[in-house]
């Protein structure tokens, strides 16, 4: 039987386009020390360290966990390095949690980061290789056609994407750690922003950020810190092939299976009713309605209606991305963990200005690659 596991400490950096004041080690330590302080622990209290990040080419440092081991107090301890593309921050949290739920460790520090400004995100994500297809579209160009496919399937009107862009940025104003703070954003400024990959406009796309996230996870008899623990009620990862005949990239099976698994573990049958807040990987505005459907918050084709009705707004019945989401901060390797971390903050009641009242259950989701890698967890204030 799996042991109970809880988040007992969270930490993150101030995310910025360029953290030019700090080294990579300094940046991950900023998040890790904050998480330790939150848990009222020191380096020596930690049994193992699990670190995640996206491609090593971002920073030009191969398997950087080797260099970062002493910076994260990992000397003499087990250390694992996870890489599952954009979902990595979520997968890293889950790998760390299993070290506890398996009964092997009592307290695990997990960290994820990306220092994208050391190079260039567009370059690092699509390093040109011989014989490869000419670089036609860039990062957003991969996703824009799927967004169009979603619009066609669901009949969603064009302004839905803009609503998400505005909502998440207004949420970010409440979050002092968010990269983008755009207090003047509204539907009009989004509509007037540059069209990048039609139908996707500049303000509907995520930024490129430097940043790190960290959490301390603990077994039931090792819980510490002043905020209450956020208990893991369910967690899962799912992958499907990148490309295959008949693949549904708008509503990927791996995402549906992953959420079904997590809900089953958490005993959730009606996600919209039973989940108080969700933090979901939405790097392009339209992924909110797409994931609303994929995560079973509504029937197929109805995701955009929830967004339009304000259900996912800060004062809606199922607030999504109270932190400002990936649309407001995107250190790729850490982006998934920031989703997992935000729901821990919500459950623990430590989210300050972006706290939703009375959160007892929350869903964190991350996805990566071409929507083929998924990781999710459900946290709750009650012991599972």
């Amino acid at each position: 039987m799996a042991e109970r596991c809880a988040v007992i400490g969270v930490g993150q950096t101030h995310h910025k386009a360029k953290r030019d004041d700090i080294s990579i080690a300094g940046m991950v330590r900023e998040a890790a020390k904050m998480a330790l302080t939150d848990a009222d622990l020191t380096w020596s209290d930690i049994d193992a360290v699990v670190i995640g990040k996206a491609p090593d080419m971002f920073e030009g440092s191969m398997m950087p966990e080797l260099y970062l081991a002493p910076a994260l107090g990992a000397v003499g301890k087990p250390m694992l390095r996870v890489h599952t593309a954009g979902s990595v921050g979520g997968s890293t949290s889950i790998v760390a949690a299993h070290l506890i739920s398996s009964g092997i460790h009592q307290r695990v520090l997990t960290v994820a980061y990306e220092k994208q400004s050391d190079s260039d995100a567009m370059w690092a994500l699509s390093v040109p290789q011989p014989f490869a297809a000419p670089l036609l579209a860039g990062a957003g160009g991969y996703f824009a056609p799927h967004i169009r496919a979603y619009m066609r399937r669901s009949g969603a009107p064009e302004h839905i994407g803009r609503m998400v862009a505005v909502k998440d940025r207004l949420n970010a104003i409440r979050n002092p750690y968010a990269h983008l703070h755009l207090p003047d954003i509204d539907m009009k400024t989004v509509e007037e922003s540059m069209m990048l990959w039609d139908p996707l406009r500049y303000l509907e796309a995520c930024p490129s950020s430097d940043g790190a996230a960290a959490m301390v996870l603990a077994a039931e008899d090792s819980v510490s810190g002043s905020y209450p623990p956020a208990w893991i009620h369910g967690m899962a990862m799912r992958s499907e092939p990148t490309q295959f005949a008949g693949r549904d990239q708008v509503n990927p099976q791996a995402g549906r299976d992953c959420s079904a698994d997590v809900y089953a573990q958490a005993g959730i049958t009606n996600p919209r009713a039973e989940i108080d807040v969700a933090e979901v990987y939405v790097p392009f505005s339209w992924y909110e309605p797409m994931w609303l459907e994929n995560l079973g918050f509504c029937d197929l084709g109805d995701g955009w209606k929830l967004t339009e009705a304000g259900a996912t707004a800060f004062d809606g019945d199922i607030p999504w991305n109270t932190s400002g989401g990936v649309l407001s901060s995107n250190p790729i390797g850490a982006s998934g963990m920031l989703r997992f971390l935000e729901v821990a903050m919500q459950v623990r009641g430590q989210a300050g200005e972006h706290q939703i009242d009375g959160v007892s259950r929350a869903l964190g989701q991350a996805y990566g690659g071409g929507s083929q890698f998924f990781s999710m967890w459900v946290l709750g204030s009650d012991k599972p």
């Binding site: 970062l68 081991a69 398996s102 295959f244």
Partner: protein, 363 residues
């Protein structure tokens, strides 16, 4: 399983190495890409025990993007398995031995019973001496491009200076490894050559001569783990993992005692190496002198058969060489040549990170 191991780790769920496969280890796999290199290995690891991908509950792989100079090589590698319907799957940017550890952790919870672990790497497309320099501190070390052979040579020198070994010892290890590799059809370097003859090799970086270095290898490997009823269903004589741990040291070579491996010693202690007699040890010692350090750290006496496969001196496929040690050690038990074996994997410069897996036959 020994009583002592049981007493110490009574909460641990027995997990077996149900199947192991590896590609030929070659200097240059110049035709097939990663998927094409890996696919037959995955097919073989299933065929060995008559299962297919639908019997697998969890998949974990180990690889690194830098070997071929393009991001996300692990993503396309999944095509070698065919992850449809979608699977619980994860990837470590580490040797496959750590992927196996992650899978073993998951199996401890008892929710699932089987896992596929694989790793792959082609070192031949690039210049490994330069690529591995990028594993070093990106501010103080990598800009100087210290190559892994030079760093290993610093460690070998420290060992010689400490009076813990001689250059002849390095050659003797290479001689024994190559001779043993004659019995390993997957080995890349194998011959019957004496220590004296090897001592005539030139230095590559003094004090390391050619024979003390690992070959540059392209290859892939896979293991299927099974627990519970599946373990017995897939084997009449399961090989059990009875102890498993890994530890990392500081990165700064100048803050370490390079002549010892406290991380290996600690991992060995937690894994319970000393809880019973060890018949065979498969040690991931890419450089000959590192075997001496590892033997000491694990407290392995002269009666222990070291690297009957020929070890990493006979084939050192990046990201798989550690996983292969576990597969080879399990194979010795499955073949009835050993009752209890230790497998070890390493990563990073001068044995910075080490993993120890104890394997036992019997019920």
């Amino acid at each position: 399983m020994s009583a002592a191991a049981n007493a110490d780790r009574s909460v641990r769920r027995p997990v077996s190495i149900a199947s192991f496969a590896q590609s030929d280890n070659v200097r240059r796999e110049n035709e097939r890409n990663e998927v094409e290199m890996l696919q037959p290995v995955v097919a073989e690891v299933f065929a060995n025990i008559g299962i297919d991908k639908d019997d697998i509950h969890f998949i974990c792989s180990g690889s690194t993007d830098y070997l071929i100079g393009g991001p996300f090589s692990f993503v396309t590698a999944l095509d070698a398995v065919g992850v449809w319907p979608p699977r619980a799957e994860s990837h470590v940017e580490m040797d496959g031995a750590w992927a196996l550890y992650e899978a073993w952790v998951l199996l401890q919870e008892g929710e699932i019973d089987t896992a596929l672990v694989y790793s792959f790497g082609r070192s031949s497309p690039g210049n490994l001496q330069e690529i591995l320099a990028l594993q070093l501190d990106p501010y103080y070390l990598a800009p100087l491009w210290p190559d892994p052979v030079s760093l290993a040579a610093l460690q070998a020198r420290a060992l010689l200076d400490a009076g813990k070994a001689t250059e002849e010892d390095f050659a003797a290890i290479a001689s024994r490894s190559r001779k043993d590799a004659l019995g390993n059809p997957k080995a890349q370097v194998s011959n019957d050559i004496s220590t004296e003859a090897l001592m005539k090799d030139d230095y590559v970086v003094s004090p390391l001569r050619r024979h003390a270095l690992p070959p540059i290898t392209d290859g892939a490997a896979a293991i299927v783990l099974a627990a519970g009823d599946k373990a017995r269903e897939w084997s009449d004589n399961p090989v059990w993992i009875t102890g498993f741990d890994h530890r990392i040291e500081t990165h700064s070579l100048g803050a370490r005692d390079l002549t010892s491996s406290p991380s290996t010693a600690k991992a060995g202690e937690v894994a319970g190496v000393a809880d019973g007699a060890v018949d065979v040890a498969e040690l991931h010692a890419p450089y000959a002198h590192q075997e001496i350090i590892l033997k000491e750290a694990l407290g392995l006496g002269d009666g222990v058969r070291i690297n009957p496969s020929g070890g990493a001196l006979a084939a050192n496929p990046m990201m798989s060489a550690g996983l292969i040690r576990i597969g080879e050690a399990a194979a010795r038990i499955a073949a009835g040549e050993a009752g209890r074996a230790v497998a070890h994997a390493t990563s990073g410069p001068c044995l910075q990170q080490n993993l120890v897996c104890v394997l036992e036959g019997g019920e």
